[in-house]
C-alpha cells in the first residue's frame, strides 16, 4: 500500500465524518430514531445495543395474529375512516369497537367452556377442541357473528399445536385490546381508510441505542453525531477566522516590513505572552457565552502563530530569485504578493491549518469541559468527553466511543492535511506519479 492509498482511506473517513455531521438531523430522524436531547429516563446509562420501543408502539407488540383478531369480518383489511367535524378531525375504526366484546369472550373462555358447558368434565386449565364452542349457537348472543367459534378459530389459537389451549395462549390475544384508534390509524400509510395486512406492522419498530445511553437516557450515538456537527463547525470556522486574520496580517507584515512589521510583531509577542485561556474566558464572559462567540474567541487567539509562520515565509520567499525576476519583468506589487508569494506560502499554511482544526477542537472540548463552551443540553465532543470522564467507572462506553471518534478525526485531519500539502506542490506530485 502506497502513501496514496492511505491518503484516500483517511480522506474517505473524513468525508464520512463530514457527511454524518451534515446529515445528523436526517440520520437522527430516519435511522437512529432518537433526538439528541430527548431523555428516556427509564433507559438511563444502558450499555450499547439495548433496544427501546418507540412511544407509538408501546401499547402493542406487533404480533401479526392480532390483525386477524381486529379484522372481525375476515375481509382482509381493517376499515378506519378519518372525518372532520368542525375544526378538529375525528377518526373511527368500527372493528376496533367490537374488540372489547371479543376480549370479554376470551376472558371468560375458560370459566365458560373448560370442563364443558354442562360441567360434565373437570375444569383442568386445558381447553380441548371438544370443549371449544363449535358454532355461534353455543356462545352467548353478544359474541355471535364475530368469527369466534369453530374449529378453525381453535387451531388459530392453538399456536403450539398440542391440541389444547392454555390460558397464556388465550391471553396473548387480549393484547390487541390496548390498541387505540389513533395508534391504529397511524398504520394506514397510504391513507385509503383501509389497513391491509401489508400495512399492519409485522413487528414493533424498536430503536436500538447503538452505543448505549448516557446518565439521562439520551442516545449516545445521536449525541455524538450532533457533537461532531458542532465540534467540526467550531474547528473549521475558528480555523478559517484565524487563517484570514493571520495570513493577511502576516503577509502584509512580511511584505511591507519596516514600522508596520515591528509594530505588529510587538503586538503579537505581547498577545503570545498572555495566557490564551484568559483571553478566551474574558471574551466569553464579556460578550456572553454562545457558539458564535466561542469560535470568534478561539479564532482571535489562534491567528498569532499562523501570522508568524506566514510572515517568516513571506520574508524568505521575497528573497527568492523568481520573485525578483517577476518584479524585473514588470509585475505589479499586488500581483507579486498575490500570485508568487502567497501561492508559495500555501504549503505551510495548509499544513498548519490542518493541524489547527483538531487543536481548536481540543480547545473547544477543554472549554466545554469547564462549562465555558457549548452549553447543555447541546452536545459537543467536549461536553460528551466531560460526561464520559465523570461516569468512567460505571459506563465505559461514554468515554471510549467519543474519545475514539475524536482521535480518529484528529488523525484523519492530520493525514489529509499533510497529503494536501504534498499534492499542491507540483514537484512532489511528479515524484508520486
Amino acid at each position: 500500500m502506497g502513501p496514496g492509498v492511505w491518503f484516500n482511506v483517511w480522506l474517505g473517513i473524513l468525508g464520512m465524518l463530514a457527511l454524518a455531521s451534515v446529515g445528523a438531523p436526517w440520520i437522527s430522524q430516519h435511522v437512529t430514531g432518537f433526538h439528541p436531547n430527548e431523555t428516556h429516563s427509564h433507559m438511563a446509562a444502558m450499555a450499547p445495543g439495548v433496544e427501546d420501543v418507540p412511544l407509538e408502539y408501546r401499547q402493542y407488540d406487533g404480533d401479526p395474529a392480532v390483525f386477524d383478531w381486529i379484522d372481525a369480518d375476515g375481509s382482509g383489511w381493517i376499515e378506519c375512516t378519518v372525518g372532520t367535524s368542525g375544526s378538529s378531525s375525528t377518526a373511527s375504526c368500527p372493528e376496533l369497537d367490537v374488540l372489547p366484546s371479543r376480549f370479554r369472550f376470551f376472558r371468560f373462555l375458560f370459566s365458560d367452556f373448560d370442563g364443558g358447558t354442562d360441567s360434565s368434565e373437570m375444569a383442568d386449565g386445558r381447553l380441548t377442541l371438544e370443549e371449544y364452542p363449535q358454532n355461534d349457537q353455543e356462545i352467548e348472543p353478544a359474541y355471535r357473528g364475530l368469527n369466534l367459534s369453530g374449529s378453525e378459530r381453535f387451531h388459530g389459537l392453538d399456536e403450539d399445536g398440542n391440541g389444547w389451549l392454555d390460558p397464556s395462549e388465550v391471553n396473548r390475544q387480549t393484547r390487541a385490546y390496548r390498541l387505540r384508534t389513533a395508534q391504529l390509524i397511524a398504520f394506514d400509510t397510504d391513507g385509503d381508510g383501509k389497513i391491509s395486512r401489508d400495512e399492519f406492522p409485522g413487528a414493533p419498530r424498536t430503536a436500538t441505542f447503538l452505543l448505549g445511553t448516557d446518565g439521562q437516557g439520551r442516545d449516545l450515538f445521536t449525541r455524538m453525531l450532533f457533537g461532531a456537527r458542532i465540534s467540526l463547525l467550531v474547528g473549521l470556522l475558528a480555523t478559517l477566522i484565524s487563517l484570514l486574520i493571520g495570513v493577511s496580517l502576516g503577509a502584509l507584515s512580511g511584505y511591507l516590513g519596516g514600522a508596520f512589521d515591528r509594530g505588529l510583531m510587538a503586538i503579537v509577542n505581547v498577545l503570545y505572552g498572555l495566557p490564551f485561556l484568559l483571553v478566551v474566558i474574558l471574551i466569553l464572559v464579556w460578550f456572553g457565552r454562545s457558539m458564535t462567540h466561542l469560535f470568534l474567541a478561539l479564532g482571535a487567539v489562534q491567528w498569532l502563530t499562523i501570522c508568524r509562520v506566514v510572515r517568516g515565509q513571506v520574508l524568505s520567499i521575497r528573497q527568492e530569485e523568481y520573485v525578483v525576476a517577476a518584479e524585473a519583468l514588470g509585475a505589479s506589487p499586488l500581483r507579486v504578493i498575490g500570485v508568487h508569494v502567497l501561492r508559495n506560502v500555501m504549503g505551510p499554511v495548509l499544513a498548519y491549518g490542518s493541524l489547527m482544526v483538531p487543536a481548536v477542537m481540543q480547545e473547544e472540548a477543554f472549554l466545554s469541559y469547564l462549562g465555558l463552551g457549548i452549553q447543555a443540553p447541546d452536545p459537543s465532543w467536549g461536553t460528551l468527553l466531560a460526561e464520559g470522564v465523570r461516569r468512567i467507572e460505571d459506563s465505559w462506553w461514554l468515554i471510549v466511543y467519543p474519545a475514539a471518534v475524536f482521535v480518529i478525526t484528529v488523525l484523519a485531519l492530520y493525514v489529509v492535511g499533510d497529503g494536501i500539502r504534498d499534492r499542491i506542490d507540483p514537484r512532489q506530485s511528479m515524484e508520486r506519479t
Binding site: E321, A328, L329, R335, H340, R427, M430
Partner: protein, 335 residues
C-alpha cells in the same frame, strides 16, 4: 570599430554616472558599488566582467530599482534611460520600464522560475503587465516566443511546470520571457554560469541571435572572459565596486592596460602558444566594510605605487575607446 563611431554620434540608451550603492546592516554600512560610470549605445552589447563581489550584479539591479528597499541606498549623478532619469521615478512608471523597456535574464534558471506556476502563466504575466492583449493572443505570442528560443513542441511544453524542464531549457524560457516585452535593453546577469559548458555555448549563441534579431542593446554580466570574447562589442572590467578598465573587446585581450586585467588574463589557460603556468592573483578582494581609500586593487597589485594607497585614480585614455583607471598612466604622462 565602424559601429563605434556611428554610436558616438547618437544619444546613449543608458547613461550612468557616479553610481554608488551601499547597504546598511546592523554592523555598519557596506559599499558595494563605489562610483561607476557607464554608457550603453542603442544596439550595442556591453560586457561587464569582474569576480564575485565586484558589484556588477548590484549595479544592474540598482538600474531597475530592484534592490531591497530600506537596506539598499542608491545614489548617482546621472542614471538616465533614453534621456529620462530613472532616479526618483514613481513606482508605477518604474514598473512600466521593467520588462517593457529594460528586461533582465537572471543567473540561475533553477530558481528564477516560480516552481508552483506553469510556464504559460509566468510568461503571460509579462504581457498582462504591459499590454492589453486578449488571453488567446497572449498565449499565441508566448508559444511563438518559445518557438523562437528553440523550445521544441512549444504548444505542449508551454503548459509544463518549471521542474519538467532541464536547466538549459529553463534558461531558454527565461530568455523568452525577457524578450516578450520587446525591450530596448536586455540585461543578462551571468546567464550561463549555472549551465553545463555545452549548454553555455548554445545559450550564448541564442542570446547573440536574439540580440541581432531584436535590435536590442545588451549588458552581459559575467565573470567569464571567454563569454565576453564571443558576444560583446565593448568590455567594462570591474573590481571592488569600481571600474578598472573599459575597452573594445579585442583591445582587452590584445592590449590590456590595467594590472588587474593583465592579472585576470594570465589566470586563463591558452590554447595557442606554449604551455605556461597559470598565475593566480595573490591575496583576497577587499571587504565591503573596510575599503582602502585609494584604488581597491592596490593591496594585490604587483605594480602598486604610493599614491594608489591614498587616492582613487582618474580615467586615462590609453587608446581609441580604451580607458584605464590606473595611476600608472599618470606617471607615463608626466615622464
Amino acid at each position: 570599430m565602424k559601429d563605434q563611431t556611428e554610436h558616438e554620434s547618437k544619444q546613449p540608451l543608458l547613461e550612468i554616472e557616479g553610481l554608488r550603492v551601499s547597504f546598511r546592516s546592523g554592523r555598519g554600512t557596506v559599499v558595494a558599488v563605489d562610483g561607476i560610470d557607464l554608457q550603453v549605445m542603442p544596439g550595442e552589447a556591453l560586457g561587464i566582467v569582474g569576480e564575485s563581489g565586484s558589484g556588477k550584479s548590484v549595479s544592474n539591479l540598482a538600474v531597475l530599482d530592484l534592490l531591497p528597499k530600506p537596506q539598499a541606498h542608491v545614489e548617482a549623478k546621472t542614471l538616465e534611460f533614453e534621456g529620462r532619469s530613472l532616479l526618483d521615478l514613481p513606482p508605477e512608471e518604474m514598473r512600466q520600464v521593467r520588462g517593457a523597456q529594460i528586461a533582465m535574464v537572471f543567473q540561475d534558471p533553477m530558481t528564477a522560475l516560480n516552481p508552483f506556476m506553469r510556464i504559460s502563466g509566468q510568461m503571460a504575466e509579462v504581457l498582462e503587465s504591459h499590454t492589453d492583449l486578449s488571453k488567446k493572443d497572449i498565449r499565441k505570442a508566448c508559444v511563438q516566443m518559445l518557438d523562437r528560443v528553440g523550445i521544441p513542441d512549444p504548444e505542449q511544453r508551454i503548459d509544463a511546470y518549471p521542474h519538467e524542464f532541464s536547466g538549459g531549457m529553463r534558461q531558454r524560457v527565461l530568455i523568452a520571457m525577457a524578450l516578450l516585452g520587446s525591450p530596448k535593453l536586455l540585461i543578462a546577469d551571468e546567464p550561463t554560469t549555472a549551465l553545463d559548458v555545452t549548454i553555455q555555448a548554445q545559450i550564448l549563441e541564442l542570446i547573440r541571435k536574439m540580440k541581432e534579431e531584436g535590435e536590442m542593446a545588451m549588458i552581459l554580466v559575467t565573470h567569464d572572459l571567454g563569454v565576453v570574447a564571443e558576444v560583446v562589442d565593448r568590455v567594462l572590467v570591474m573590481y571592488g565596486g569600481r571600474v578598472m578598465e573599459e575597452a573594445p573587446t579585442d583591445q582587452i585581450f590584445l592590449a590590456p592596460s590595467h594590472p588587474y586585467t593583465k592579472a585576470l588574463l594570465s589566470c586563463l589557460p591558452r590554447l595557442d602558444g606554449e604551455e605556461e603556468r597559470l598565475e593566480p592573483i595573490e591575496g583576497n578582494p577587499p571587504e565591503g566594510m573596510n575599503r582602502p581609500p585609494g584604488c581597491p586593487f592596490e593591496p594585490r597589485c604587483p605594480d602598486a605605487l604610493d599614491v594608489c594607497k591614498k587616492e582613487v585614480p582618474s580615467p586615462y585614455t590609453v587608446g581609441e575607446g580604451h580607458v584605464s583607471y590606473c595611476w600608472l598612466y599618470e606617471e607615463e604622462k608626466s615622464v
